[in-house]
Amino acid sequence: MRIVHYLNQFFGGVGGEERADISPQVREGALGPGRLLEQLLPGAQVVSTVVAGDNYAAERLDELKAAVLAQVRDAGAELFVAGPCFEAGRYGVAAGALCAAVQAELGIPAVTAMARENPGVDLYRQALHIVDSGTNAAAMREVVQKMLAVAQKLARHEALGKPAEEGYIPRGVLRDEFVEETAAQRLVKMLYAKTVGEPHESEFTAASFPPIPAPAPVADLSRATVAIVTDGGLVPRGNPDKIAPSAATNWGAYDITGLSDLRGQDYEVSHRGYDTRYVEQDPDRLVPVDALRELEKEGVVGKVYQRFISTSGLANPLANSRRLGREIAQKLKEEKVDAVILVSA
């Protein structure tokens, strides 16, 4: 198997932090950890090794990518390997980017390894099978062994097993499988272990999300333009934007100029996750135009934005929700809206 290998300046034997600026250099044959690749996999040949400095990689990633892609192509490589990177952050980010590029643009299997804490993991875990290297560079041999096992399966287009079995960091993709025990049996077993203080293994670990900082308070509500945004699926009768009742991929902005009350006969609800009858009777229950108009009259709020914005929040994948949120925020920003009342279903 013909391999092109990427190393940073340190593992490439060029030097430490003082050489972190070096531009990509192509060496024939294996270097450092690359020799293990050849030792551990009969028939493996590291055709060439690309070495670049960590700072160069961080600052000029596009140029590095181009150099590596050219080298992988020219060398007729059947596999691209980067690292292992352990905890080295710039190295991990570069290795992830290079593997992702090789895989996507050349269709050649690519494998890297990092510690779970490496910032490259969060960036590329979904795109790649990143072997869990742990933090100890002394375990180099075992890590390379795992990388080769994963790489061979990728090269043969073989389905990889579970992360723990294969040694890669979970990519965050769910797959169904039938198991012997019912959920009830698993529940009681897990609860018993947890209750008596034995180790228990949850079938799912909550994802961690960065906290969303609360925005600064509205300085003067009496001069603010206020908009209503809902994920409760209220749409004009006929659902002109065809907003799906579950996992909606779009949103609509609906005019309320001159309206101080929404009438049930003019609207419908596109949402399958709650009992919509009460909103259909009186849409102000979800989109409180009536109350907001009164506050506008009293001068509590400056102005009600002339449209309400609506989508359906039911069972929506996060990636989609994020996009919808960004688009809606962008629109409101352009329209000079100062404050938003978010009404959930």
Binding site: L160, G172, V173, E177, T182, A183, L187, V188, A206, D275
Partner: protein, 428 residues
């Protein structure tokens, strides 16, 4: 047994295995063969003026047969005369369920078809092939009841009629076992918090949702001892009451059938550990998922409080009902339980449409860290044409018989929310 002063919560199930079901001159159980005289049952069901006709079909395990839309599936059971009510609050006056003798036709099921439900997305049972192998109802002998309703009835009225037909049929069939020698007997008994002779064993409880107010219960939607749960707060419900007809499936019943209340996988598993003296099963609490924040806060608090101070639980299994939102109620209840010093395990049902782990959980409490994850979103079968399909109408049956993709979530029991699911999602 003195723990409860002589008035014990002991449910005795007399098990009559059914290995064959057929039409006959009389409704009777001969050995393990159940014969059904259809006219008698039909007359009884047609006493309900809302029905104008009833079809009755029998399906055996392994048959190339598909049926739906399933309104509900029940195990035929009947109380020994004098031992209490059958489906108290629905069929019979309210008496405490879960005590005394109940006759069970094990291996048999009564399945009621809803002719008014949209056929393309409704729940079905598949008796053969790979989808059948995954369906926990495929191994049963089904009596399929297809009630045909008078025109012009409202949806809730239709479903109320189906509910009545379902329990009547289940009891009618099981009465064939009265006076017969059972093949085996199961005794289910716990004095719950009053158990005194089991010191040192972990005290485990169950908190289960029996309804979700995502879809507000209809006035005639009989879920809990005949009531629709409107205004219901968390309620201690002895495990035997769950098993013996106090709870039936509501109308919005994703992954829930009455059969697995009668054979509740979580309750029976806790009982198994209890009987093996590894734990003390201290009891169960029925609750509902709220549709507003105050209800949610109140319900979750009260359920956890009862588990702690009425049951004295050390650990609690929690399951949910309905769709996505009830995860929030389940997880908040679990969190409060943890705060009160009880350990918890929860069952999550797959909601991640894009199969990403980040979209999977609808809660995020570090202490709720024992999660059983049931799958379903990306499992489906290319089901072949079947020789026989049973549905609400001829055209619906024809459509159902055709080859089609069957999503796991459509096949009854595969993505059970009652603890029966063997389909799990793994993170890759």
């Amino acid at each position: 047994m003195s723990a409860a002063g002589g008035l014990v919560m002991r449910l005795t199930l007399e098990i009559h295995p059914v290995t064959e079901m057929r039409v006959g001159d009389a409704t009777a159980l001969q050995g393990t063969a159940l014969s059904l005289e259809r006219e008698e049952l039909r007359r009884s069901l047609l006493e309900d003026q809302r029905l104008h006709a009833v079809d009755l079909e029998i399906v055996a395990p392994g048959e190339a047969c598909r049926f739906g839309v399933v309104f509900d599936i029940l195990e035929p059971r009947a109380k020994e005369p004098g031992a209490g009510s059958d489906f108290p609050g629905i069929l019979d006056p309210i008496t405490t369920a879960g005590r005394g003798l109940t006759h069970v036709l094990r291996g048999a099921a009564v399945t009621v078809i809803d002719e008014t439900a949209p056929p393309a997305t409704g729940k079905i049972v598949e008796m053969s092939g790979p989808a059948g192998a995954a369906c926990p109802y495929a191994g049963l002998h089904h009596l399929i009841v297809v009630p045909h309703l008078q025109p012009g009835l409202s949806r809730p009225t239709v479903r109320h009629a189906l509910r009545l037909a379902s329990v009547k049929t289940a009891v009618h069939l099981a009465r064939a076992a009265l006076g017969q020698e059972p093949a085996s007997t199961e005794v289910l008994e716990t004095a719950g918090p009053l158990e005194t002779e089991r010191r040192g064993l972990p005290r485990l409880a169950y908190i289960g949702q029996v309804h979700s107010r995502q879809m507000v219960a209809e006035v005639n939607e009989q879920i809990f001892y005949g009531a629709n749960t409107d205004g219901m707060v968390p309620t201690l419900l002895h495990p035997n009451e769950w098993l013996d007809g106090a709870v039936v499936a509501g109308y919005f019943n994703m992954g829930v059938e009455t059969y697995f209340y009668q054979n509740h996988p979580v309750i029976l598993e806790l009982y198994r550990w209890h009987q093996e003296r590894r734990i003390t099963f201290v009891g169960a609490i029925a609750t509902v998922a709220a549709s507003d924040n105050e209800d949610r806060a109140r319900n979750c608090m009260m359920a956890a409080q009862q588990a702690k101070w009425a049951l004295g639980a050390d650990g609690v299994v929690l399951t949910k009902y309905g769709g996505g939102a009830p995860h929030a109620d389940m997880a908040l209840t679990a969190r409060i339980c943890e705060e009160l010093g009880m350990r918890t395990a929860v069952q999550v049902n797959d909601m991640s449409r894009d199969r990403s782990a980040e979209s999977a959980l609808l809660f995020n409490y570090p202490e709720v860290d024992a999660i059983v994850y049931t799958g379903g979103s990306d499992t489906e079968w290319a089901a072949p044409a079947v020789a026989r399909a049973i549905a609400g109408s001829g055209t619906a049956a024809e459509a159902l018989a055709a080859p089609q993709q069957l999503a796991a979530t459509r096949v009854c029991g595969v993505t059970s929310q009652q603890g029966m699911a063997r389909l799990r999602s793994f993170v890759y």
